[in-house]
Symmetry: D3
Subunit: 292 residues, 6 copies
């Protein structure tokens, strides 16, 4: 008897029960204001991950030794951001309630809000580590408040805006309107252009044991490395810097994570999808320390 075709991200074929981490995809990009296509990101990462090795010579570790489950993509309606966020929140809630680490694959960056809503209910003192070219701090975008350009503002309202702490830590930021940078000046912990200050921060966060959500917009990478995204923004970081940043973050108490904004059709060479897969491999291995 033959088995039905299944497709998981490279090496993420543990059973649900034994897994400590669960991948879930949110193929949504309805609020993207420039070039859409991030909806195809999570599937492309699964399809093309078999071009990658399971072994990391950077961490000397192997995906086949850690136990990750891939629950596939949510079925999300286009044209209704609120419904999409509800589905994401529900899935994150299930994974959290089963004691596992939810790892979201976007999709446009707005999807992060769904996950953060679930996490903040469980961890009211949540800190967010945000790697991105864009500040994403707009109050609204042409009147729409649920937008990829506003997602960190909405997350701030749920975290620092409520607790009074500067609990959103932004790195690699090199784009935003004047308002956003002004808002950041007063309310978030924004590090422009690169990862300056990350090591200090992660040491502090690790020492305090505070719960951390890691959200990676892959356009933090320079478009040289990652052209396959809706709004490529020159002047970004390169892979070795992002790798080191992930390793630094792994010393903190990460309770959820996501990886966003791969628009695979925009880079026909496949190099953008390949680097996204490699970042996910390194993220999974880094977060598995002490768990898998």
């Amino acid at each position: 008897m033959l088995e039905r075709n299944s497709e998981t991200f490279l090496g993420c074929d543990a059973g649900y029960e034994e897994a400590w981490a669960v991948l879930y995809g949110a193929p949504f990009d309805s609020t993207t204001s420039f070039r859409p296509g991030a909806r195809f990101g999570p599937s492309a990462m699964r399809h093309e991950s078999f071009g990658l090795e399971t072994y990391s010579p950077y961490q000397k570790a192997d995906l086949t030794d850690i136990r990750v489950f891939d629950s596939g993509n949510l079925e999300l309606p286009f044209g209704s951001a609120e419904s999409a966020l509800e589905e994401i929140e529900k899935r994150a809630e299930i994974i959290l309630s089963d004691g596992k680490l939810p790892i979201l694959l976007g999709g446009e960056h707005l999807v992060t809000l769904g996950a953060v809503r679930a996490l903040v209910r469980r961890y009211p003192d949540l800190h967010i580590l945000h790697f991105d070219a864009h500040a994403d701090l707009r109050e609204d975008y042409l009147g729409v408040r649920l937008s990829h350009a506003s997602v960190m503002r909405r997350c701030w309202e749920l975290t620092g805006g409520r607790t009074g702490e500067r609990s959103i830590h932004q790195f690699c930021i090199r784009s935003g309107d004047r308002e956003e940078f002004h808002f950041a000046g007063g309310h978030t912990d924004l590090h422009p252009f690169g990862f300056d200050g990350l090591e200090d921060l992660t040491e502090r966060l690790a020492a305090s044991g505070v719960p951390v959500y890691l959200t990676v917009d892959l356009d933090c990478l320079d478009p040289a490395v990652f052209p396959g995204t809706g709004t490529p923004e020159a002047g970004g970081v390169f892979f070795p810097e992002l790798l080191n940043a992930l390793l630094a973050v792994s010393s903190t108490r990460v309770v959820g994570a996501d990886l966003n904004e791969l628009a695979p059709m925009l880079d026909a060479s496949g190099a953008s999808t390949a680097v996204a897969c490699k970042v996910l491999r390194e993220m999974l291995l880094a977060l598995s320390h002490g768990r898998a």
Copy 2:
């Protein structure tokens, strides 16, 4: 003194006052369920129209002799279909109230609903001629009622669903779920695959003098001719058939029109954008009879 850069569709540089027809673009594709990109359609048509001649050897007529005004694109928020439709309706309303013919450039097909709302208020007995590969008659799509897949169903509610007439006439349809074909069987005038029956119909409509809205989803064309669209559907019509259909329609009393679903990035050769421009030229010339 120099003039500011302006960009209109080829030959559509009349003044507003003197124009009998007005182009308006709706760069919206948030509800597209498969490959997005129709948002770039209207701009691409303007950019690339200069590769086309203003003269039509088919109609022996020239765009420089008719007077069309190009009012550019609406600024539409992504992620809110309702707001987008309101903007479209408002623009159509202004054009209609100035006694001019509104010609909408999409965008995904949902944009038609904005125009039809304005037209139906003015012409309660409106008939709709619908050229499309897809029936677009779904009650909803994953719970969302404002979707490109439901646009003709929504239009039906405003027209035939209210008057009891089969006033939506669908041609070239070759895709839909079983429900949609069943619904069409009871409520619309659906002609599958091609233009069979169009000539009879337009003669009848012309004789009766009933107001007609023409909505052209360019994917009625075969993907051989028009691959640059989100959901290419084999088995369509070719350019000469569509040209003849436009000429047939021009004998009726057309009170509004649109042209949709060019996703220019999906056809890097530019041939899809070129044929879209040519269809628009022929549509404008055909509709100008007795007006320009």
Copy 3:
């Protein structure tokens, strides 16, 4: 508890036991002599099939009503044609021995040989219906006998070459070297350019009840419709003709089938993959008559 991600061709989610037909993919293109990439065909068809409807307005039938199982892709070594053919033959053998119809998704056309080996053992009087731009009748290609350019010659050796009958029926052929056409003149039933003679043939085959294998190289389609293939050959048939041909074939006793030579990366518009999906839908529905 969440379910592992699975991915089947549109609507082919029956259980194995209840299915009458089984899809199996052969992602192999090592002997392709010009542009490779057919290896990505079966996966692309699964990924992109969700852009298609399950319902066929041509046959007024729905994939959700027939029971097809998708067993995914074989894991095939590149660089060893013989090993690849053995894997294909084994899979076909399992499906046949479970009383189900094996439907192979290539890959380059050589994969057909693996399936035909299994079928001919069970049906020594097998006839082959071959739709293709190319005759594929070379004795060898640069000394290599297991080549996409020789696959029909190898199949002939197993069927007509053994029985003495002209049991290979070739349609749409418009490319080959002089030798191949000469060979065909003496040994196969070759119909150049299109489907002339197919209806007569299928009536005869249906009447005789002889077992038939259907092999479709999608490049029988004109490159206008299907540019996404390694060796596009102008002057082919269009979708409606291929659809009619499939319907004609469905009246015979089909005991196995395949669909080959989609190289999805060669057509970035996605139109080639879309038409391949549509051909498969129509083929499944056509073959389901009296079975599903």
Copy 4:
């Protein structure tokens, strides 16, 4: 001892002395007003011709049996149309003076003028058969008289404009400004859209024995078949029609020919280059009757 790498169009490897026809390439596109790239046409045809068979099942003839020499590409300066035309004329003159048939591969259509200048000196009563989507009859283009858009006007001045005959015969024309069609009405033999009237004409030309130059702008083909060109124009002919037209022309006394306007980079699928190669194969075989 090894041989230096050479590259000829498929099967065109005769020695110069024995050849009856000589290929020469003009990689020039400086006056192209829309999308350039035709400069890469002749090289692309050589590179990719090995994906084609030397044998034609249409004509039951083989390139390996006729003797054609490929003299490669001229080295042409970009930015000086006059110098480029002089080089082309010189090469045509050499080939003609050696008693061989010159067959030019463009490049943009202006290159034809260089060849026609050489031919008209030798054949003052030259007729020109012109297959093209565009009339190319402008007096000038933005003041420039040596332009792809004016090439047939310049050719007319050298032939019919001098002799008073309608000796330029245009087929498939479906684009031009009003002036051009008006000029054609008075001075050329223009057949719009397709090949209506060609058979009559070629019979007359064959009977009279008048020398004929054949110039094929590949954009006479529909963009469905041939999107890889600078100004794709919907509504063209398909391959079988062009093939029949070539066969009709081969009955006349052809003294020179060209094939133009393949811009290979505009069609990444390679299908446009493939059909260009196939058209050249059929043209060479058709013209070889009674010569090779």
Copy 5:
């Protein structure tokens, strides 16, 4: 009443009277010797600039606060370099005579010569800052003296060749024939590979108050960052280095500037156009110091 569609580069919507700087586009690439397409550069930058923010976090300044006018593209004939240069010179002359800074968007690099002709008449002691991968110092290219490969040689004849000074300062140069490097050794101030020496130079130029023309061939950037250009040349600078160079230049007395050689179709990801837009934003902001 509706307004006609206009399209300016992001945030450059000042009135002509109030503007201190004026953009003008030269969509010309007729002398390009390798891959053409730079003609589409200026329009692509306008179309896609709305994907960029008006605010620069590098300079903490905003395009909405400075007053730049976008006068659109010149209409230039292809195939006549001299006519094109005349049009460019005329436009530059108008802008200069109105006391505004002319900023030219190419097109191929030859367009610079038109602007320099206008500037040198007004500023006989003009210095030129030249950022480029290529020396552009050929005496001629295949006999043509007005070529992108000779533009700096022609500029030198108008400046240093006349005054006897080394007033052409070349940076990032990593390609040229031996002659060009030899010529540079004797006549220009050539800095190979990067920006070594720029800071010293700009301090000297600023101190002396000499008028400076800045010409940026975007291929000074590494192809990793900017693949969308006709002759990508590995080993270039990255965005942060170019940004710093622009800031250094802004301390001198810049009297004219240009930005060239974006060929947008060569980079389908859009990243090349995006970085070109960002460089223009930073250039405008840098040059606005003390003016806007």
Copy 6:
């Protein structure tokens, strides 16, 4: 009398007798396990090399001054790795026996084995310098021992595996399975990620006068610089580092070399082919020291 079209890599037009180095191409990629297309590498490098200068400002040397012969591509059967390797070995043997340096252009990396077989017969103490992202040390790949993923393992069996020395020196390696890194730990001289240790090594090798084979898999470069390859692997070196490495190697006694894994169709911008050409120019110039 005209000459037949020939095509050599830029400036490699010496006569065979006078040449010290001979290029030979192996357009083979049958064992490629992910994205194929490297078969088109050698031809693409020839076609596009005319976009490069013959002069190197890095080495202040010119290809027109050294004498290299380009013998074109071998005709290799797809689907039989062993036959392909035999053809490569034979060609290398001829070049070696004529006292010239064989320089192989791949193709996938397996082709190296053919050359190494010829070299090791003549130089039993051969050392191999291997620049690559991938270790290529698998014992087999899905049971196939002649695979691109095993090529260095096969080479090791012929060299270090026989002599007992660590004579394979690997640089830039950042991908492989755990086994491969383990094998390298015991049997090769592997330097992960970059060129650390190369200068020391080349000094030692130069001093000892041991014969050296240089094999460059171009994917040692970062995908930012070189996306046009089958398995792009982030975190690689950039052009200046590779250039310096080639210069270091040129001090040793190089007796053969190759350059592999350009898959030109995967990078439509042409930048990958351009950098491959530039690497080959620099390699030829570097290796010519004391020979040409």
